[in-house]
């Protein structure tokens, strides 16, 4: 007899990932992986999701056979990679993907936009000055801008040469 309890793919926060799936099934061949849409409506996606918060699937899943359990029960989790519906928060739209192997969630990743209204947390184009080679040239100019000259250094300045020529 097959009995399975699917854990809710509920709270995808950094703190509490999917707890796991308890399955009690007879080992069969794993279902072919297929991407499909799982409704992650109750999830609160965050870009800090990372694999260091690995799901505690194994420890709670006392009843499942470790490696070969098929998740292809009606309310169970199928093996494969699934993308949730995008969830929009103030920083933009975040989409979460989960990977299920042998009925356990083995990886979670989140993608978040790099453009649009995510300017507050995503890298924005930072205006920069370009570096160039410092040139030293003589050219015909009407005036010269420089650090404030003293009266003495004015006399030796290019500006005074221009002023003298026009007087």
């Amino acid at each position: 007899m097959r009995r399975s309890t699917a854990a809710a793919v509920g709270t995808l926060t950094g703190a509490a990932l999917i707890i796991g799936v308890r399955l009690s099934v007879t080992p069969t061949a794993p279902a072919a992986a297929a991407a499909s849409n799982v409704d992650l409506t109750n999830s609160t996606p965050t870009p800090t999701t990372s694999s260091k918060k690995s799901p505690a699937a194994g420890s709670k899943n006392k009843e499942a056979s470790p490696a070969k359990t098929s998740a292809a029960a009606k309310t169970g989790l199928k093996d494969g990679t699934f993308k949730g519906n995008g969830a929009t928060n103030p920083y933009g739209t975040v989409q979460v993907s989960i990977k299920v192997e042998s009925g356990k969630i083995t990886a979670v990743s989140a993608t978040f936009p790099l453009t649009g209204n995510s300017a507050t947390i995503n890298p924005v184009a930072i205006p920069k000055l370009k570096q160039e080679t410092l040139t030293s040239q003589s050219a015909k100019v009407a005036a010269v801008s420089g650090a404030t000259y003293t009266s003495q250094s004015y006399n030796e300045s290019l500006q005074s040469a221009l002023d003298g020529a026009k007087a």
């Binding site: 030293s136 009407a142 801008s145 650090a147």
Partner: protein
């Protein structure tokens, strides 16, 4: 003030009228000096500094300058600081502002084609008499008779702050010591008071001034910078002459 001012009026008015306009600019600059010079014991700025008068009793120009310095202190994250050396000294703003006002007065008097260069800070209008923009060179930070950039500006302001003339006159308010890192900072934009203050603030910031100035491009202020070790930087839309 000890600042040498060069004025070129390229208008068609009769010479006596042009000379009258120049006299008016000189009178204005002397008025500014009397009010704002920290070297004159009885200047308004010193009397305010000694609390002989209150802000409310100050002239409209003084109150404007104090307000502008407060705004700049905020906008430059404290690097433009009229109190950086201790007692109140708004010269970093007054220098550019007084020329900005002088150019506006010339325009009101009918001069639409001119430039005023006060100690290296320039406000220009109308382009040069040959029909081209005014060609303005930026003095090379090591070679006094050479230029590092040539700009073409018909209308606007060019201000340069640097350490090669008066030495370490710009203080970094965070360290309390002379600013280090940048040898020459030139800002080009629509207003000489702001261009001058931004150039001075960036010099005070040191290398951090390079990226701070890059952001001012959003408000129309372009820049050209040379570091103490000879690296040169410029903004994308610096109006360089071809």
């Amino acid at each position: 003030m000890g600042t040498v001012v060069s004025i070129e009026l390229a208008d068609d008015q009769p010479e006596p009228e042009l000379r009258g306009m120049i006299d008016d600019v000189c009178a204005w600059l002397h008025e500014v000096d009397a009010r704002f010079s920290t070297y004159k014991p009885d200047s308004e700025v010193n009397r305010l500094q000694r609390r002989e008068i209150t802000i409310a009793e100050c002239s409209a120009d003084m109150r404007h300058v104090l307000d502008a310095c407060a705004d700049l202190w905020r906008d430059t994250d404290g690097y433009f600081d009229a109190y950086a050396a201790g007692p109140l000294d708004p010269s970093g703003y007054v220098k550019g502002w007084s020329v900005e006002v002088a150019s506006a007065r010339l325009a009101e008097a009918g001069s639409l084609r001119h430039y005023i260069n006060a100690g290296g800070d320039i406000r220009m209008r109308g382009g040069s008499p040959d029909g081209e923009p005014w060609r303005v060179g930026i003095r090379h930070p090591w070679e006094a008779d050479k230029l590092s950039w040539v700009l073409a500006v018909a209308e606007g302001a060019v201000a340069t702050s640097g350490t090669y003339e008066r030495g370490d006159h710009v203080i970094n308010p965070r360290t309390g010591k002379a600013a280090r890192g940048l040898r020459s900072v030139t800002v080009v934009g629509p207003d000489l008071a702001l261009a001058d203050a931004y150039a001075t603030a960036a010099l005070a910031m040191g290398e951090g001034g390079i990226s701070w100035l890059a952001k001012r491009a959003a408000d129309g202020f372009e820049s050209a910078i040379v570091t103490d070790d000879g690296r040169a930087f410029s903004s994308a839309n610096l109006p360089a002459a071809i």
